[in-house]
Amino acid sequence: MGIEGVGARVARKEDRRFITGAGRYVDDMVVPGMKHAAFVRSPHAHAQIKKIDVKKAKGMPGVIGVLTGKELKADGIGNLICGWMIHSKDGSPMKMGAWSPLAFDRVRYVGDAVVVVVAETKGQARDAAEAVDITYKELKAVVDAPKALERSAPQIHPEADGNLIFDWELGDSTATNAAIKAAAHVTRMKIVNNRLVPNAMEPRAALGYYNKAEDHYTCWTTSQNPHLARLVMSAFYNVAPENKLRVIAPDVGGGFGSKIYIYPEEIICLWASKKTGVPVKWVADRTESFLTDAHGRDHVSTVEMAFDKDNKITGLKVDTIANLGAYMSLFSSCVPTYLYATLLSGQYDIPTIHANVRAVYTNTAPVDAYRGAGRPEATYLLERTMETAARELGVSPAELRRKNFITSFPHQTPVIMNYDAGDYAASLDAAMAAADYAGFAKRKTAAANRGKLRGIGLSNYIEACGLAPSAAVGSLGAGVGLWESAEVRVNAAGTIEVLTGSHSHGQGHETTFAQLVNQRFGVPIDSVSIVHGDTDKVQMGMGTYGSRSGAVGMSAVAKALDKVEAKAKKIAAHLLEADEGDIVIENGALKVTGTDKSVPWFQMALAAYTAHNLPGGMEPGLKETSFYDPSNFTFPAGCYVCEVEIDPETGVTEIVQFVAADDFGNIINPMIVEGQVHGGVAQGIGQALLEGTRYDASGQLLTASYMDYAMPRADDLPSFKVSTSNTPCPGNPLGIKGCGEAGAIGSPPAVINAITDAIGITDIAMPASPSTVWAAIRATKH
């Protein structure tokens, strides 16, 4: 490892622009002649649109255009779709309701876009939006998923009878029922996974620009995957053909899943630009983000876990209702199915599993992937159940887990996944040592003497990421492949550009991808530029989500580097009159091994481009491309320990320590990996303690600002103790598993296990806010 190579703690190249205020986010973009859009959104959760009167709005100062869904439809703009087909257990395809980018006959959640106004200034657009007069006939709304399945519930989409999108299953029902029947002990729980709002700090934004002279569109947008945005807007939404549409995702201020999807606003900004003849920019305010960004989680489940007399798990049965909101967002269907039920084996050797999942429409914001996506729900369900089982069986939670760990690999679970490598006991041991688990009893007593309740909780998570082998996900219903591409351009003077389909919105790719090049060729990272986020510059790629940029994106870079290396060695061998098998790359030069003959890297590059003296038949230039499709998912895993102290007088929970021991496979930059864990754990603690998304019964979002939705602040969190003990991933050339989601996946059950341990109760609802905790403590006394 060099000072800038793989494994080095290199400070980030991209930081300088961010710390000096020179970052370029979509809202910072200015195009000559640019005007501003404001959306008129439904104030009702469920209503018929009787009449839309835009006359007054059209006459307002500065107004350039007021456009409705009827005009959008007339221009042939398509409905938004979900790109992952799920079949119900009766074989029928999922029931997808129509989602027009602008609603024209019915609105189905508060925030549903109905009319767009384009005006000279943002203020004028908003003023005019308020002057649009829409007559609604209100309909009964339902926000709670189990209630949406009741007979009396209002019908939300004509396509989905009884609001049921699909009724899907995975695993062996008969064997699992038999295991439960024969069990020495069965632990049963109802598990609720609370709805969350992702809340990237940069609100979503779009700038659409139609260039009439060239009949060409450009869209600057807050996207985690600009190529996918272009594909979907072309192939499904008929905005423009791919060759006439450029999508640019510049600096993007966080995503966490919520910026994967293509939302109505970017489609409408492009369409409105053509309609009005001006570039159109829209930037969400925070309340718009709360109302319309895809939310996460929102599962209600029951679980039965069967044990034999030796406390070995013999079967697991799960029934889940997943709330998908008012419309099916782009990948919504895969989250509660193939990203969830396939992880229900956790780190445990479970002979038989059956999961049944019903996905349901409600009059709420669409729900899709949020950091972890399905895997946090699986982990929460399993790790809460393991904790309860240990208490019921009267055994140590750590030892119950250890007894049931999978210990030999590869391991085929009963729910599709084939785990390739791992050492779960190593993470458990590391976490327990770091947390001084053995000393907890003493600390609990000391806390009790101070009048405080102290508790400790474990969570052993596993996730499948490095999304994903294309053929495998295709067979499960995915509408896209999940490979990644890379192009490596060695310039004539030896500097290097890496063009990647991955997209960085905080992950530090400009540094880590350059470290990979430095490792291979010895070129300083300042001489390596990472180009991403622009469909005109970068070949087709699939973007960043599912902890895939390292395992898949960097593997594509590694494959392209292989090709560059092979050609570079051929050129060097020719120049040095040596055998190419004898060429090694060291310290920025290509050398003939065992001799003092060498050619500097830049001279070899120059030779590739002057082409005066190349091996016979070799094409000039030094630029290679790779499309890498992984052969398997990757399986990061680890153990988290949370220790809390609760003030019984106020119900305030203090996290006195949080330990993370992860196995991420090989690591490119430990500093960045630790940062990912910190952020993920903070989001998980946010879910467990603070973040509650509340709709009232009529479908109004009560938590639609930072005054109402409790985001984790610095003083809600401790400093974290993080470490890794890594088993390299055998499935990709770099041995990387991925680290982006682990923190958010593993942490919520650790927190809730600690709180229930402290209070001495079986369950508590997330978020375990002070009032909830206080009430739970009170209830134990009556």
Binding site: I19, V30, G254, R286, A714
Partner: protein, 164 residues
């Protein structure tokens, strides 16, 4: 419309803006200083923190006309030419940022915090005083580390100056 003139990052600037224009929008749209960000509607997130007459202010909570005659420093004006301010340098060194969106406000708030505590800072104080700045990426761990480190650097520099 009102005429507004003020000093921003050491330069006298003036312009006209609607009375309802917030200072943050004046900075971003009239002056092109897009380093100051808008992350919420309710003065909670702190992405828009700047310094007005030496104090940290949320520029979304002040009308542009109210700043007329003031001396404003934004994230663009914090570094001394090519030399980063110690707080900027500490954020880079300690990985105190990921997506970078909250970073300008964090750095401006942190600089003010360190200035208000010449005696030095501890972790609990830093965490308590960051209450008005939200970050979704870092879990604050490395932000806190960076601010403590910058506080050390700045107070030792101050001491060195005093000694000299």
């Amino acid at each position: 419309m009102s005429d507004i003139s003020l000093t921003v990052n050491g330069k006298r600037v003036s312009g006209a803006a609607e009375d309802r224009t917030l200072l943050v929008h004046f900075l971003r749209e009239n002056l092109g200083l897009t380093g100051t960000h808008v992350g919420c509607d309710t003065s909670q997130c702190g992405a828009c923190v700047i310094h007005v007459d030496g104090k940290a202010v949320k520029s979304c909570t002040m009308l542009a006309v109210q700043a007329s005659g003031s001396n404003v420093v934004t994230i663009e004006g914090l570094a001394d030419g090519a030399d980063l301010h110690p707080v900027q340098a500490a954020f880079k060194e300690h990985h105190g940022l990921q997506c970078g969106f909250c970073t300008p406000g964090m750095i401006m708030a942190a600089t003010d915090m360190i200035n208000r505590h010449p005696e030095g800072l501890d972790e609990a104080t830093v965490r308590a005083e960051l209450e008005g700045n939200i970050c979704r990426c870092t879990g604050y761990h490395n932000i806190v580390k960076a601010i403590l480190a910058a506080s050390e650097t700045m107070s030792s520099k101050g001491k060195a100056k005093q000694a000299a």
